[in-house]
Amino acid sequence: MSTREIFDGRLQAALLLVPTVLVSVVFLYYPTARAFRTSFFKAGFGRAEEFVGLENYATLLTNSSYHSSVALSVLFAALVVAGVIVVSLYVTFLIHEVDSGQDWYLISVIWPYALPPAVAALVFLFVLHPTLGVLTGPIEAVGIDLDWFNDGPQAFVVVVLAAIWKQIGYNVIFMIAAMNNVPNALTETAEIDGVGRFRRLVSVYVPIMTPTLFFLVIINTIYAFFGTFAFVDLLTSGGPSNATNILIFDLYREAFSYFNFGVASTKSVVLFLVVAVLMVIQFRLTEEYSYYGA
């Protein structure tokens, strides 16, 4: 390894690192630290900051609508992550199995990687609009009464679907690489043993792909918490009845609609902690699995 380190100049190395470190400190670490600090203040536009200690945290602890927002976000993330993984895995498997047109199929399902969330949201709004949507007629013909401007759970489902749609492409990209890496010998052995196609996916491919799947679970979790703002903002604005008021939207509204910077910063801190805890749990699980798997 050490043979790669062919240059010695410490000053040179430092200079090379300065831009990245500087931008990280100024625009990433410093604002994060300041968010922690502001979480102990009452603050807003044109208002002098006022130290309030733990009051903002106490407010959140006793605020039941915030509690439901936390629960909602966790549920949202769980559904998005599970949905994305299952759908992507199945699509990937089909592409892996198909005898011709692989490239064509692949492009047709991975393109949403490039899809801007704002576009995804507006297109969904148009397609599934409860009264004007193009698909509303056919869906209602099946017997589902589309009413997601009033019906909270429906609105939640619509946002989840839009979020899943956008994220499939990214997942298939990784899964196809992982699936192609499964040694042919294993596939052949399974076939000789007469293992059915679907069981081959579940009991041969999935275990081998576990590292990739864990990686994707982590990426998708981050996406579900942080990358889905546009969906909520453009589709439901958090409603109806806060049914889609996930943490990131709630945070935005606190900061830039109500201008309560103190409480908003507290919410940033909580969001950070929630995601950090989830990351730790997921890394633990990954390690545990690798341990037993080894």
């Binding site: 043979t3 790669r4 380190e5 062919i6 240059f7 010695d8 410490r10 040179q12 190395a13 430092a14 090379l16 690192l17 831009p19 990245t20 470190v21 931008v23 990280s24 625009f27 990433l28 410093y30 604002p31 994060t32 300041r34 968010a35 502001t38 699509v91 089909l94 892996h96 199995e97 198909v98 005898d99 047709s108 399902v109 393109w111 990687y113 490039a114 899809l115 801007p116 704002a118 507006l122 148009f126 193009v134 007629g137 990209i173 990784f174 690489a177 192609n180 052949e188 590292p211 942080f226 703002f229 903002d233 935005y252 908003a264 910063s265 940033s268 969001l271 950070f272 950090a276 990351m279």
Partner: protein, 302 residues
């Protein structure tokens, strides 16, 4: 020296192929399997689901402004030129697209340059604590914009950058992902090449320009696409920090377009035209450069 490098490059390619997996071999193996009609059918169904919403957007963007509310209305219209012209010229979407392009190009170029520098330092310099520096950079993955947008907003305003291109580019320049991918890639370049370079007394600048960059073309293109898509698709931060129409980006411009057309007439046609326009640049780049993009993703995961 060039010969050695050429040889090593070929070897490296061979190694990489063995990692990524040889698809041709596998395809012949797959051809013999049964039940492909069913697989095709299912794929067609799923592909249709994934493509359908955008297909609708494209169709609607070609239709006369008015109301499209049912499936039978979904026959492409003849108003494409008019709708796109109206969105781009009358509703200022051209301006938004230009701002997005400017933002994305600045972010891609800036990120690429400073991340290459950092990765070179981390991989090819013998300095203490560099793993710590790398961790320091990597940890920023846990600090996305929403965690820090209130203080960042105040900071940008204090810097006097509010409502400017600086505000939507500079904070994005440090990239854990890019540094990570480049580091992984540099680590996969065989040490023999590096040692040869050292024996030849090649300096760091020449090494980076003549050895590293030529050997990393695919990865550099790949990360550029990743960064472009990322920058182009940003919505929340421009929404917060940009408040004049003249500087707005396409993602937020879509919201303006929607509000604008709905304020008076109803025109989903225009909103869909805007949506298609906004999707086009990242989609085109992704399709054009899918090979290096997929290879780069393969590195990211390791």
């Amino acid at each position: 020296m060039t010969d050695t490098i050429q040889y090593a490059k070929r070897r490296f390619e061979a190694v990489k192929r063995s990692i990524v997996g040889d698809r041709d071999e596998e395809s012949t193996l797959l051809a013999g399997r049964e039940g492909n009609a069913g697989v095709h059918l299912q794929l067609w169904f799923l592909v249709t689901l994934v493509v359908f919403p955008i297909f609708i957007a494209v169709v609607v963007s070609t239709k006369q402004q008015g109301i499209v509310t049912s499936l039978p209305d979904l026959i492409p219209g003849t108003y494409a030129v008019e709708n796109y012209r109206e969105a781009i010229v009358d509703y200022g979407f051209g301006r938004f697209m230009w701002n997005s392009l400017l933002m994305s190009v600045v972010v891609v170029v800036g990120k690429l340059v400073i991340s290459v520098l950092a990765a070179v330092a981390i991989v090819y310099y013998r300095v203490p604590y560099k793993d710590l520096v790398f961790l320091f950079v990597l940890f920023t993955l846990l600090l996305p914009v929403p965690i820090r947008f209130v203080p960042l907003f105040q900071l940008i305003n204090d810097l006097g950058w509010g409502n400017s291109l600086l505000a939507i580019t500079v904070p994005y320049l440090a990239s854990a992902t890019t540094v990570f991918i480049l580091r992984q890639h540099f680590l996969s370049i065989p040490t023999s090449i590096v040692e040869t370079a050292k024996l030849d007394g090649v300096g760091p600048v020449a090494f980076t320009l003549r050895v590293l960059i030529p050997m990393s073309r695919g990865v550099l293109v790949g990360v550029s696409i990743i960064m472009f898509v990322y920058a182009w698709n940003q919505y929340l931060w421009p929404l917060v920090i940009i408040d004049s129409e003249a500087n707005q980006v396409a993602q937020v411009g879509l919201q303006l377009l929607q509000g604008d057309v709905q304020g008076g007439q109803l025109s989903w046609s225009l909103v869909m035209a805007g949506s298609v326009l906004t999707l086009l640049p990242p989609l085109a780049l992704m399709i054009l450069f899918r090979k290096p993009l997929l290879e780069t993703f393969a590195i990211q995961q390791k």
